[in-house]
């Protein structure tokens, strides 16, 4: 295995611009193609990683020890093996293949994790919402919860900015639950 592994046209946290992603034993770095401040991450900060299909290509979602999440999108399907080895050997982390639901259903189960809300359809995630993107939540009606998004980086990354999502949660739903207060 090389001492450094490079990948081009990678997007960091839904950045508008692609960049170069470089992995080494000590950690990883990302730099926009047109220059600018590089982003770096210590290998010791990584607690886990997931591989799944995203917008630009395949995405590595890195879970950090401080509960933050870093997303790198734009990998090719055939990069998976190389990256799995690299995460295992250098960061002692398993790159977990996380297939998302493609069924197109709007029903499932909203689950509250450490850093994000995951909407699962038949035990597969359909989408995730980082808590850091949520600006407000309220009970909009009986069994209806409205989640509002501010000018968060990820909610407004594309040309269509997501401003609100409403959920129907049957039965007794407390506000605490809606805000992930029990997590």
């Amino acid at each position: 295995m090389a001492a450094i592994e490079n990948f081009d046209n990678i997007y960091l946290d839904l950045s508008k611009e692609g960049g170069k992603c470089r992995f080494a034993e000590s950690g990883l770095g990302w730099k926009p193609t047109t220059g600018g401040e590089p982003f770096t991450l210590q290998g010791s900060d990584i607690s886990g990683a997931q591989w799944s299909r995203a917008a630009k290509g395949y995405e590595i979602k890195i879970l950090l020890r401080n509960s933050n999440i870093v997303q790198l999108d734009g990998f090719q399907q055939e990069d998976f093996e190389r990256l799995t080895k690299l995460f295992k050997n250098w960061y002692s982390a398993t790159l977990e293949n996380k297939e998302h639901s493609l069924r197109g259903w709007n029903w499932g189960k909203a689950e509250f994790g450490k850093a994000e809300l995951t909407f699962n359809v038949q035990n597969r995630p359909a989408f995730e919402i980082p808590y850091s993107e949520i600006s407000n939540t309220n009970l909009a009606g009986r069994n209806e919860i409205a989640v509002e998004f501010g000018k968060g980086k990820k909610a407004s990354a594309g040309k269509d900015q997501m401003v609100e999502m409403r959920f129907y949660i049957p039965g007794t739903t407390t506000r605490k639950e809606a805000e992930g207060g029990d997590a």
């Binding site: 999108d73 009986r142 594309g158 040309k159 269509d160 401003v163």
Partner: protein, 136 residues
């Protein structure tokens, strides 16, 4: 059923089987109406998320200052449209995404998308009805 009452059955549907079936346009992280697969792909935190036209109730566009809003309403229990809970659900005890609202400064695009979704919905309802008529 045995009592001669028509019970509406839930019919399963699926947008995609494999992730290479997404339209290439999902790269741009915008809303994509995929007519071929009767699906609307919505960008949720950058991820393309398919919603089959059967889950969609309607889509509407509104304007507020420089912004245009596109709201997509999904079918979910307890909406009381027409006859109460007329729509069959596979699992009424599940959690449902009830609506999603996006904003953009390109209002013409939202008018176009809202029309495309309405047309797709109309076609899909028509097809369902034709199928039903054939069965009767």
């Amino acid at each position: 059923d045995q009592n001669g009452v028509e019970i509406k059955k839930f019919k399963r549907f699926e947008s995609y089987k494999r992730d290479n079936q997404f339209p290439p346009k999902v790269r741009d992280m915008g809303i994509v109406v995929d007519q071929k697969n009767a699906t609307v792909v919505l960008p949720v935190m950058g991820r393309p998320v398919p919603f089959h036209i059967n889950t969609i109730k309607n889509a509407s566009k509104s304007d507020e200052g420089e912004w245009s809003f596109l709201r997509i309403n999904f079918l979910s229990p307890g909406q009381g449209v027409g006859r109460k809970d007329d729509q069959p659900f596979e699992d009424a005890s599940a959690h449902f995404v009830r609506s999603l609202t996006f904003r953009s400064t390109d209002g013409d695009r939202y008018t176009e998308i809202a029309n495309q979704i309405s047309n797709l919905k109309r076609e899909s309802v028509k097809k369902e009805q034709e199928k039903k008529d054939m069965e009767d």
